[in-house]
Symmetry: C2
Subunit: 332 residues, 2 copies
């Protein structure tokens, strides 16, 4: 049902993606009449690789978690995630309310063995031309060192699979690069990550700073969800500011036109599609205001994650590095 813009965005994105990828079948979940009408507009009502699955409710951007979770049991969001749970789908994609999507996904799919808390992982462009993976972007605002440790493992596995990098480098987001820098949680996380590095299990680069995200110093940047969310939104805010500057008069617009090829690499639409990692199933989150072009990237990321067996790789590495989760031990 597609976040801010609804099926007018998600359906063209789905049709375009199917054109490029011949080995994929999409199940569109939502208000059947609305979806079929939109498909008809695009002459795709009989597309052989599209199935429409009816869901009678829609979680809105303003719905409190309780409504999404307890009241709207036949929401498009929930039905889509249930398709992953029952094996009918390899992954699901939503442009809906992030908090609701995480809550519904945790409730329906449950957390993967060995993971205490799922995290949200997205990518940002960097000056080396590659993406920088960053997590957590807002699922966990209060973190302990073992949570950040698990985020590092999850980010490393996602990056390795999606980018075909054997041992992605991991950086711990901090206020300085020296080991003694940072708050207590980050310093203790550094100890855990260095130990994994010494055992040859994770490729821990060390501490990185905010600017390293865009320098491309490491493949994966790890932080708690508070820092990650604030940083992501600040960066989005600055991007919008820059964009507004380029549309303020005829000279700046002409300038942007001239530089458009170079500016392309900064286009945030290409980086749409965050993974909700650490669940027993793949769920990807598109920006709520995504265009069809951006939403198609989110579908592509979910497709790649399924194709490259992210879940299997993640289970294996988690089992190897974290036979029992510290939170489970505490409860025991």
């Amino acid at each position: 049902m597609g976040g801010d813009h609804g099926p007018s965005v998600t359906i063209p994105a789905a049709i375009s993606f199917l054109k490029k990828q011949s080995d994929v079948h999409l199940i569109l979940v939502g208000l059947e009449d609305v979806l079929r009408a939109e498909l008809k507009k695009h002459h795709a009502e009989a597309h052989p690789r599209i199935t429409v699955k009816n869901a009678t409710e829609v979680v809105t951007m303003d719905d409190p978690l309780e409504i999404a979770l307890r009241k709207k049991k036949d929401s498009s969001m929930r039905v889509a995630v249930e398709l992953v749970k029952d094996g009918s789908a390899n992954a699901s994609v939503s442009a809906g309310n992030t908090g609701a999507l995480m809550a519904v996904s945790r409730y329906v799919l449950k957390t993967m063995a060995g993971v205490d808390r799922p995290a949200i992982c997205s990518i940002m462009p960097n000056q080396k031309g590659g993406p920088t993976y960053m997590l957590d972007l807002g699922a966990n605002v209060d973190c302990e060192p073992h949570h950040l440790h698990q985020f590092a493992i999850m980010g490393s596995v996602l990056c390795a699979a999606m980018e075909n990098i054997e041992r992605p480098t991991i950086g711990l987001l901090n206020v300085g690069t020296e080991e003694i820098k940072g708050n207590d949680v980050v310093k203790a996380t550094g100890v855990l990550l260095r130990a994994d590095h010494e055992r040859g299990k994770l490729n821990f680069h060390g501490n990185v700073e905010g600017n390293d995200i865009f320098k491309g110093t490491v493949d994966v940047v790890v932080c708690d969800g508070f820092v990650g969310n604030v940083t992501l939104k600040a960066v989005e805010g600055l991007s919008r500011f820059v964009k507004s500057v380029f549309t303020e008069n005829i000279f700046s617009m002409a300038g942007a036109l001239l530089a458009r090829k170079s500016l392309k690499k900064l286009n945030p639409e290409r980086y749409n599609g965050a993974g909700l990692l650490g669940l027993k199933g793949l769920v990807f989150k598109s920006h709520g205001g995504a265009s069809a072009f951006a939403f198609e990237w989110a579908i592509k990321r979910a497709y790649d994650a399924a194709k490259y067996d992210v879940q299997e790789h993640l289970s294996a590495l988690i089992a190897e590095l974290m036979p029992t989760t510290p939170d489970a031990q505490q409860q025991a």
Copy 2:
């Protein structure tokens, strides 16, 4: 002695600033021979409003805090701050190592009565055309609610004096705008700030998100030094990335040239000069890599803070809102 570039940056900046401001006298602190030689280059060795004060040592960007604090007792940084302490100067400006500057300033000047921890406050451009004040940017990586509360008071006073705004609006940096959002420290800080707002003491707007920094939603954004430092550096990193994109080929360069008037408002050099607030004296920090143009802005900020009696306003409001500091109470 001027951070990365030394007197070749600070001296032209000082001379240029004196030309614009007739009521100011500058004391240049550092290796006397070096300073005099640079002044001579600019035909300013006999400038009537410049005094050279000799200091035999220089704190380098790599010096550990202990060296800056205990070994280099005659450093330009320390001597400059001592001029503020003994009343010879109304404010001091340094482009040196931030950690060393804060440590030396705390040691020499001591913390203002009622303030538990000094904080670093800088400004960022926003889409409304004004600056957004933001603190703490890295002095305090582990904060309690009463620290953030004090940062709000300090940022509000600085902004009010520098921008001539009677009651600056204050936003608490968070992962969402609702009161229930955030980690425990931020939620408890919200309670303190709302109480001040209800008593008519502070103009607390509520929670803000990362993008609000650039939207200009509030005049002052409050956060802990970990979040602030990471956000600031991420934003600087993205700015550099954008800049690099505009110099990558002839088309992008021409585009930047066309849009230069609009791009001016994004120029970080205009926002140079962070205040170290909460000390018994004014200290301003310039970016280490500042150009002469940027360093002059840092001098201007220090000048404005002295002229508009920031210290007096701050003491008064702190005394009113925080008669005893929670940290002092705990120790008692």
